[in-house]
Symmetry: D2
Subunit: 374 residues, 4 copies
């Protein structure tokens, strides 16, 4: 597989619709369709299941590249990969065609974790599942922000386990089941096309829809969801930041003060800022690669890198996109460049749980020898 | 005059419409109307001309208070005051009722300075006026961002003087003259209601419309426009920042992690950030007051404070509103609080010329003994 | 009293010895002597007690001015004023001549609060006083950092009260009593002349040496010590920062790149940095004045300003002195300018308890409605 | 070669003397001796010349490791490697045993570039060489900061070429020649043991002492000196920063508030700061590795990384060591931990030319398509 040539038509499609997706806050159906056709929805699925057999490095590369043209498409993509990798870690026997559907891109996956009650602590659902009389499990779970809400075919949904007190269960919920509904709309500062909306899951689920064993949800969150999500989210942040930097270099090199016969890039203060932006991107990018390699071949340092990479990339993206706005001034502010969109989209990465600040807390506990989730 | 009771109904009106003005990007007609009725459009006009006789301190207070409810209204207001104070510094004899119209709020004023060719260097028009045969002056001036475009009754318009080579003339142009047209629309990150749009002024103007003497425009920009504009813009920045801080304190004190029985403000990292935000606001606010007092009773330090106050307040607002977004996380991002609007509006202050970075350059020249506009 | 002419000879003396005091880490006896002769040791003592009757504004002014020539002298000075104002808030009857001795500068005062066990939490002594048989109080208190150790005539010393469980007592201990000893030496990054050293107070003290009522120590710390200490410490920080800025402006204006016929201040990046430094100083300075005025005429906002002013000034000094080092490069690093000393001295302000970070925590609790010392 | 076991005794020796070297500002003779014995002075010399044949990665590793125990030794080491690699790039025929002496560590090398007239622009000597009658070259060059002044056996010395107008010549000057003298002493904030002092080179030199061709000095500076120096200097910065971070983790985990039964690391604000420090180190470290690999196998991006790596590492070290001071408070300030020394030493890296700010300027020119040294 030549990843870049596979990506090429997807990027072209995403680029074509990105401005419109943002302006109207609509789901980027064309880009998601192009992703499905390209095979990239199955990028990280093993070849034995019909996927492309790519690893963390390839995933990060694709996520960054998508973000540089359409942040919403990129975020939909990483949530799909997270949902996919979680489901495939312990495929529920009740959905036998799921692996091949995910690999082929026939099913778009996502996660339904966060709840209003526990806010950004996505790992702590407050919705309680119960055993009904007939051996099935019942729950009503209100989820606050579900990416691809109403568009996904698979929702990996968390609830407090009916069987293991204090434990969490993950269920594979399809988009067509009764009891699955989008309960609100989302209008945020950025990533306006990823259809991140509140949903309700009011379900009776057989055990063969559970992913992994009873009470095993938290372990899957930390071992499977977190590495793929944090890496992908970091890659999206850096893709957005890189795109804003590239646009800023182009603009400052071209924008002329007619009365002085000078461009913005002729100003030493502007160039110094661009230099710092570039170096922050280089450094965070180098750490992203290190983390991806570590996830691909885990050792005892991997969990720390998984915690750190999102926080670092999120904050780098906040700084770099703010600086891109600054050096381009009114031109960036007034939307003549795509910088303003990258700037807004980048702010989503940071607030998506685990937030950068939550990650600093976890990371700080880890390096000072404390229990991370204590 | 009790300023706060005069302000009260204006703030109520502005608050009522602010969200809508932002969402639709429409001119806040209701708020501007309320400002006119209140007498505050004439706040800084001398009592002898029918105004309220307020000074820089009162102006800053009103501008900040307006910004805390509707940034667009606040920016329209400060541009009105700048246009008004410039016109009244040397009232053009051709418009004898102008002073009383401005004082009474019958005429909304604004500035038409920036041009595409000279970008953010608003003090450097490239449009050249010429004497026509009959002793009048002709010019075609394309202006890039005019606040209240199409809504103002008075546009204080800059051109390269027909009479003084290299000098600048300011003309009082009314909104109803033929040759005055709005030539584009604006859609920016923030201050979406101030109708800041490109305009063309294709005019033949008699000399009695000139404000001040031929070639005197640059002096009026530095002596009259800059003090009122920089102070007002700084006050708007701090008003926005203060409002975002207040909202963040309220939200973090109320938002509960249900599973932990804890609010965001129970987290020491959140509180430390709030503390820093507050102290930045206090410091910048104290300097704003010092600057306002200095403009009211000028001495040799006043020009330096005029340069500095906008840069400091703009950058304080960037930092504080970013932090407000951060501590409130998804709630701020997704628009449930007004913080996201303050955050976007605050970014306008910085890019309005003279930009914060241009001001650091001017200020740096001043303190190292170099010519400021050299 | 003309404060500046009173100050003039003290500043001249302090300036003469400052480099030497720093290099040798020795007590600035000449400067302290000059302070005594000038009457400034009694600056804040009421005229009825023989002092100059100055208030917080005058105190801040003198402290900043001293710091700009010799940080060690300035810190000795503010600790003297803190000790003085605490002792005079409730003069111990056992030392009847103390008020007039302090007012006249015959006695140098200081505080002995911090202990190794409670580290930077100076408000929490762990040394326990006990009643001996004869109605006196006995204690052994090891103090970690006492300014003017071995040089002061009055040590205001804290212990856990013998009478009020959990409460704190303050005792007026003279320098000549048996049982008072300097137990170590200090060699730190900066303020190397203020003789801040560990001391042991192994004493039997009569009740008439207690300052205020039994168990009243904590209240005196928050009501008397904290306002004077935080204000003075903030003033010292800003004095050091201002001096480093002034030196940086001088150096960058004079240092020439011979091959380019250019000075450092000809570089826009240098000027921009100087501009930011100046504005940070202006803002923090304006807030310092506001705080001093608030302490002089307290209202319900005063305690918050007392908490905030030290944190803001400390951090401003860290940033400004680091920037002064940066713009002056090797010249500053290698000690040809006094900037390197200001830089080191400024780092003392921040670590003196209550540290800037402790203050952010207190301040953050206050603004979110939590008990500050809870 | 097992690099770490080779390093081990050198690190032990350097650690033993580091505090003393710093306190007395003396040359770390013991450590340099240990370096010579270990063979590491020849680390980057090809095996054919008797060296260890190591590359940029190994060099960076050794430099960081040395810095973590003794910054002065580390800086002496990297200047030795820079002098060595420059001399060996075009070995002067007049000193036939130089390559083997350098490889074996019998000769300690250094650079003598910076001059008072051109300040930090080390690439621009103002000392002019001239041809004397007999075909030799004469010059008097005053150099401002020469590391290992008076201790080195080889000074690679720059002058304006006698033969190529405007060009630069590099000469291999041995320490024992008449006319080589140390003309001053150095007492700076940090790296107090590297004996960085002004020197005068008043010489008549035969052509066979020139390194490379006439006028070729500038090219050797950019192609050979800059990659090795910037990489090594960056490695030293990160070594110091890493050591300060490690010490801060240890201290905050151990320092107890006795009255609260709490350590510093129990405070979330402290942990969050440690987390950020760690991630900055990780990111800069990852970029350092990328740069070292790029120097080892150069492509068109290598020059940019060479410019960037020192600036990034220097600024990372400024921030991380300042934060280490902050989280450790008085304990770090008062020298009980080595953090205070790392903090001071780290500030040397930034001011050594090319300074971080000069590098941002070069880098900014490069990424905006301008001539870097134009």
């Amino acid at each position: 597989m030549n990843l870049d040539s596979t990506l090429q038509p997807v990027l072209a499609t995403a680029a074509e619709h990105a401005a419109d997706v943002d302006a109207e806050g609509r789901f980027p159906a064309e880009s998601v369709s192009a992703l499905a056709s390209s095979g990239l929805l199955g990028l990280t699925v093993g070849e034995e299941d019909g996927g492309l057999g790519g690893g963390p490095e390839q995933f990060a590369h694709v996520s960054s590249a998508l973000a540089a043209v359409c942040g919403s498409t990129a975020m939909i993509y990483i949530m799909h990969v997270c949902g996919t990798m979680t489901a495939l870690a312990a495929p529920p026997s009740g959905l036998p065609s799921l692996p091949s559907d995910l690999a082929a891109g026939r099913t778009l996956a996502t996660l339904a974790f966060s709840e209003p009650g526990s806010r950004s602590h996505f790992w702590a659902p407050v919705s309680q599942a119960k055993r009904d009389g007939g051996g099935e499990v019942e729950f009503t779970a209100d989820k606050s922000w579900v990416t691809s809400a109403g568009h996904a075919g698979l929702y990996v949904t968390s609830v407090l386990s009916a069987d293991e007190p204090g434990g969490i269960d993950l269920f594979a919920v399809t988009g067509t089941e009764p009891g699955v509904s989008v309960t609100g709309a989302f209008r945020g500062l950025g990533l306006r096309g990823n259809e991140s909306a509140p949903m309700r899951f009011e379900l009776t689920a057989p055990d063969d829809r559970r992913i992994g064993q009873a009470g095993g949800g938290f372990g899957m969150m930390t071992d499977t969801v977190m590495p793929w999500f944090n890496l992908g989210n970091a890659a999206v942040s850096l893709g957005l930041a890189r795109a804003s930097f590239d646009a800023a270099v182009r603009h400052t090199g071209g924008a002329t003060f007619q009365h002085l016969d000078q461009t913005l890039a002729d100003l030493p203060t502007i160039r110094a800022r661009l230099a710092r932006m570039s170096l922050q991107l280089e450094a965070a990018g180098a750490y992203l690669h290190k983390t991806a390699a570590s996830i691909a071949a885990p050792d005892e340092t991997t969990p720390l890198h998984v915690l750190g990479v999102k926080a670092l990339a999120n904050d780098t993206a906040l700084t770099v996109t703010e600086d891109a706005m600054r050096v381009c001034g009114g031109a960036a502010f007034s939307n003549h460049l795509a910088i303003e969109r990258y700037f807004r989209d980048a702010r989503a990465g940071s607030v998506m749980a685990p937030t950068a600040d939550a990650l600093y807390d976890f990371y700080g506990k880890a390096i000072t020898g404390r229990p991370v989730f204590g």
